[in-house]
């Protein structure tokens, strides 16, 4: 999808992350939307679009419920039942470019930590082959299979995989919003117990409560807000809905198509990317996407990570918020919040100097992938 700056993110909002006991998930979502509206200098009635995200494993997050609770009658509203915000952002851009709406609030809120409704006894992709009776539970399971396969094919080591969690933690230490900010060395990582061998606790995100929101509008309107706009240059998607009917489904080779499309539609190459965000419910997804998006050759993510390229001061700043591994779960929504803050130059001690172009890559487990290129100016 060639966007070329026809839509822009003009405000972001994020609530406190971690444990928000006693709070309704939709209430948390509306708080986040309020923070984004405050940053935009808008009233809720200025939004003519509302895109919400269903909370994983719960019935909350539906546009009709949030609209009622927030007292809003936007011209356009919709709900996606999966997160990462990439898919939501693409829907917003399509609505804006087509004229369905002009200024849209995108929002996600969850109380899955204190609400205790997240089912760890199902693994992602379970629909492709029933796994629960075999104890194939938690996202750590498929992540372990995918990483073991990578090890067998390419000789990747656990110490190489561990560099992802360590890199994320280093970035999180500069992020006041992050839940996990204690120093973690590669030795700490290797000394920690496995969840599903060869995957450890630090390779997997922890569930948390919180909310995040964005305001997206047209290029014409984008310059009239208190904060500098962050433009959408391109978006792309590809699905793998056939699950285990596909070869090598857990390696997700179809993500390569997302990369090819998004670079072509942004008229950029990977060398133009100043900031990389990869949605990271597990570190293994990061390993895969570094390869499929061309930052190293397929099979070479292990040695690439060992160079320290993704860490603070490295040549490829990756998940400068600490990602889902260290910042907060938020189903990846905070990656976009962070990308916007970095492109505006507001990221404090973790600010990457001169950053103008960001790429955000995400996936809905083994079923679909998405990527967006954002930039502080339209080329």
């Amino acid at each position: 999808m060639r966007v070329g700056g026809a839509a822009a993110i003009v405000a972001v909002g994020a609530t406190e992350q971690g444990k928000l006991p006693g709070r309704d998930a939709d209430d948390i979502a509306i708080e986040a939307l309020g923070l984004a509206l405050e940053e935009a200098g808008l009233d809720k009635d200025d939004l003519d679009g509302l895109i919400t995200c269903k909370s994983a494993g719960a019935d909350s997050g539906i546009d009709t419920s949030i609209g009622r609770k927030a007292g809003m009658d936007p011209a356009f509203s919709a709900t996606l039942e999966y997160g990462t915000c990439n898919f939501s952002l693409h829907l917003a851009v399509m609505a804006i470019v087509s004229g369905m709406a002009s200024t849209i609030g995108l929002v996600y809120g969850t109380n899955q930590k204190t609400g205790r409704h997240f089912a760890f006894t199902r693994a992602a992709g379970d629909e492709g082959s029933p796994g629960a009776p075999y104890g194939f539970h938690h996202v750590a399971g498929p992540a372990a299979l995918a990483f073991r396969r990578h090890q067998a094919l390419y000789g990747t080591t656990e110490a190489q995989l561990g560099r992802i969690a360590v890199s994320s933690r280093k970035w999180a230490m500069g992020n006041p919003l992050a839940i996990f900010r204690d120093e973690m060395t590669i030795d700490d990582y290797l000394a920690s117990p496995y969840l599903v061998r060869p995957v450890r606790r630090a390779d997997v995100t922890m569930i948390s409560d919180g909310g995040a929101a964005l305001v997206v509008t047209t290029r014409d309107r984008a310059s009239g807000f208190p904060k500098a706009p962050v433009y959408v240059l391109a978006g792309a998607q590809q699905t793998g809905l056939r699950l285990y009917q596909n070869d090598d489904q857990l390696m997700r080779p179809w993500l390569r198509a997302v990369a090819d499309r998004v670079y072509a539609d942004a008229n950029l190459t990977r060398e133009d990317i100043d900031l990389l965000y990869i949605q990271d419910p597990t570190s293994v997804w990061v390993l895969q996407m570094l390869e499929w998006f061309g930052f190293c050759n397929v099979g070479e993510a292990g040695p690439f990570l060992e160079t320290g390229a993704t860490e603070p001061g490295g040549v490829l700043p990756l998940n400068t918020n600490g990602g889902q591994l260290s910042e907060a779960y938020m189903w990846g929504w905070l990656h976009l919040v962070e990308a916007v803050r970095q492109l505006r130059g507001e990221a404090g001690e973790r600010q990457v100097g001169g950053a103008r172009v960001a790429l955000y890559c995400s996936s809905k487990a083994f079923e679909k992938g998405a990527a967006t290129v954002l930039a502080s100016e339209v080329p």
């Binding site: 075999y134 104890g135 299979l145």
Partner: protein, 134 residues
């Protein structure tokens, strides 16, 4: 290995476990295109035919990859830890999640040849697991 009762509410899936209880590894073969459906389904995902017959297939396959659960996420599995979950590519075509049993978890390898074994869960249902091929 602790055995969790498989899902029997879906009649097509229940048929798979019932076949296993009779030591048969059986799938629906599409009567129109020959594709083996997994998981069981009313519709062939390849040609959309609704016609199928349950067909016993060869028990052989290979481990695509595997993980070793060092922690139980469901209390039913606490006594089973550490246990091996693998994605097995059957020679017949379907790819199944299952346990690899009868072998030290450290001896399991990607690409290892395996053969189906049937683990009774009740009088009329068994899980399909795999052990290293002789």
């Amino acid at each position: 290995m602790t055995v969790l009762q498989p899902e029997l509410d879906d009649p097509l899936l229940a048929r798979f476990w019932e076949e296993a209880a009779r030591n048969r590894l059986s799938f629906q073969r599409c009567r129109d295109c020959g594709y083996l459906r997994w998981p069981p389904a009313a519709l062939c995902p390849r040609c959309w035919s609704r016609r199928a017959e349950w067909t016993e297939v060869d028990h052989g396959g290979a481990v695509w990859s595997f993980g070793v659960y060092e922690r139980a996420f469901d209390p039913t599995f606490e006594a089973a830890v550490p246990y091996v979950v693998a994605l097995v590519e059957l020679d017949a075509g379907p790819r199944m999640i299952a346990n690899v049993v009868g072998v030290d978890p450290d001896a399991v390898e990607v690409g290892m040849r395996v053969t189906a074994v049937f683990e009774p869960a009740s009088d009329d249902a068994a899980l399909v697991n795999f052990r290293p091929a002789a």
